[in-house]
């Protein structure tokens, strides 16, 4: 009790001194060109440390509130600087409002829309639980003594659908045990991992990347010196190269985007900038991960509240990022809802025109099917998904479904997947690219 009382009164005192420090930082800046940089950096670091103390529910509430206040601040500043009165801004804002209203109406006005939105939220929650509680589900020993073969068998014993997510969690936990034992080498190429079945490799690599990104990203902030940020990103790339099997690196690279967008959203722009100079291909995987993260963000989980598709379209500063973000988002959307294809069909009904503009949506869906088919061979949910046809009373939707989903998926399973498997390049499906061109480069099937 004594310790508790002491800690409790220490916090407000620390906060008061911190406030005074920030006033001093702003009034007497080290760099007069960026007078608020020091204070921004301090606020960022303390906010991150505070976030780390939240439980999931509170963290989700914080995220939603924070995203909303940031949006609101942008609006206020745009109004004050008269940017909000330019025709371009007004058009964009109006289209955003119209799009959001349509999304909300879709969910709330029809019984079917509400049922599907509710089901989607349930699927999301199921995945969240599977990954979050992988430790208990697989009885992973806390001592770190991993019998990988046994744990993989336990993951697959959970059945089709949970297996994929738990293998990813297992990859993460397994990689975590190597952290702190320098040098970190051969995690998935060493003797212990040599008995891993091929089907587990894509998701084990995704878990490996998660672990690396979760350890490295908290060591930098948007205000860290650029060489430091660059060094950390290069370390991430180096770790993946030193520990991933050849051909599966992409699955690990992609997780950097997932971690950055979920936990360090203010770092997305700076990571994008640095990766564009380090490695364009890793940048492509990064944005795919950002898209995947959007699907799971608390702000977009509440049915009808806000749409991740608009964010995927807007957040990337370039076409490579935009296409990958949309592919990553459709990847997650198709995979999480694979048991209810009508959810994806409902999405197509309202966003089909947007998805038809290019092949990024289709690329995400076909890539996720190739990956799921590899992780869970003869998956009953994939077969059911491919057999599903929307109501023929809506010919437009049937056409969209065939063009954007079924056609690409069949091609992915019959043509691309066998070739990628043969050439040991399954990691390639973790980013947007023309698989046809890739096949050409690999020398065909």
């Amino acid at each position: 009790m004594l310790e508790f009382a002491k800690s409790a009164i220490r916090v407000p005192w620390a906060m008061s001194v911190f406030g005074a420090q920030q006033v001093a930082n702003v009034l007497l800046p080290c760099d007069f060109k960026q007078p608020t940089r020091q204070a921004n950096a301090a606020f960022y670091s303390v906010t991150q440390a505070t976030e780390d103390q939240f439980t999931d529910l509170l963290w989700a509430s914080f995220q939603v509130g924070d995203e909303l206040q940031r949006g609101l601040m942008d609006l206020v500043f745009n109004l004050l600087t008269f940017r909000a009165f330019t025709p371009r801004y007004i058009t964009r804002l109006s289209s955003d409002i119209a799009e959001q209203s349509a999304e909300t109406l879709r969910v709330l006005t029809t019984g079917e829309g509400f049922r599907l939105a509710f089901q989607e939220a349930r699927n999301n929650f199921e995945v969240y639980n599977l990954v979050k509680h992988v430790h208990q589900l697989l009885n992973i020993p806390s001592t770190g003594d991993f019998d990988l073969s046994d744990l993989i068998n336990r993951a697959y014993a959970l059945g089709q659908y949970p297996d994929l997510w738990t293998v990813e969690g297992l990859g993460h936990d397994y990689a975590d045990t190597f952290w702190g034992k320098e040098p970190i080498r051969n995690i998935l190429t060493g003797a212990t991992a040599s008995g891993l079945p091929d089907k587990s490799l894509t998701m084990m690599h995704a878990g490996l990347g998660l672990s690396f990104a979760q350890h490295l990203m908290p060591t930098i902030t948007p205000y860290s010196p650029v060489p430091e940020i660059r060094r950390v990103l290069q370390e991430f790339v180096g770790l993946v190269q030193d520990n991933a099997r050849k051909g599966y690196e992409g699955a690990a690279y992609e997780s950097l985007g997932l971690v950055t967008r979920t936990w360090h959203s203010q770092m997305v722009a700076i990571v994008d900038q640095q990766l564009s100079e380090i490695d364009q291909e890793v940048l492509s995987y990064f944005w795919h991960g950002v898209g995947r993260a959007l699907y799971f963000l608390p702000l977009y989980v509440v049915p009808g509240f806000s749409s991740p598709w608009r964010a995927a379209d807007r957040e990337a500063p370039h076409e490579l990022g935009r296409r990958n973000a949309i592919a990553g988002l459709s990847w997650a959307s198709a995979l999480v809802n694979i048991k209810q294809p009508e959810i994806l069909a409902s999405l197509l009904r309202y966003r089909g025109d947007q998805f038809s503009k290019d092949d990024s949506f289709s690329n995400g869906v076909m890539s996720t099917m190739a990956m799921a088919n590899d992780t869970t061979p003869e998956d009953v949910y994939i077969s059911a998904f491919l057999k599903y046809r929307p109501d023929s009373a809506d010919p437009r939707l049937v056409d969209l479904w065939n063009t954007l989903v079924i056609g690409p998926c069949e091609k992915a399973l019959q043509r691309y997947y066998p070739a990628l498997k043969k050439h040991n390049r399954l990691g390639e499906v973790f980013h947007y690219q023309s698989l046809e061109k890739l096949l050409g480069r690999l020398g065909g099937v």
Partner: protein
């Protein structure tokens, strides 16, 4: 200015949520010591805050902190009887004066060339807090 306002708002929002979180932690205690989790959270956040302070502010924080700790010891230690002991109050006051004098010495020796306080504030340093918990597709 835009970024500064956003950062400040995020910080205020995080602080409010932090208070709520600690209230919830106290109302739903886990383990033997119901306050252990909250104490740890308080200590983690305090450590992160102190890391962002410059030398002068760090010293100011330490003096105030020590004084607070002694007061708590007096109030809650020895069944609160310490609070009635004038000798302890005297000791605390003299120790405070001594610490302030030492701090003032340090501060005058630690001013920058232009006389401004060393507002280094640890800018850009990443928080040394514990690993974040998992979310969505990410395990803890």
């Amino acid at each position: 200015m835009r970024d500064f306002t956003k950062s400040m708002m995020s910080y205020s929002w995080a602080t409010s949520m932090f208070s709520l979180q600690q209230m919830l932690n106290l109302l739903t205690p886990q383990g033997r010591d119901p306050t252990a989790k909250v104490t740890e959270a308080f200590n983690n956040v305090t450590a992160a805050v102190v890391e962002q302070l410059g030398d002068t502010m760090k010293e100011t924080f330490r003096i105030g902190d020590r004084m607070q700790q002694e007061m708590v010891d007096m109030m809650l230690g020895n069944f609160g009887l310490g609070a009635l002991d004038p000798t302890r109050w005297m000791k605390m006051a003299s120790s405070m004066i001594q610490q302030s004098a030492e701090a003032a010495k340090k501060v005058t020796g630690g001013t920058t060339a232009n006389g401004a306080p060393a507002a280094d504030g640890g800018a850009g340093s990443a928080p040394s807090a514990s690993q974040p918990q998992g979310w969505g597709p990410m395990p803890q």
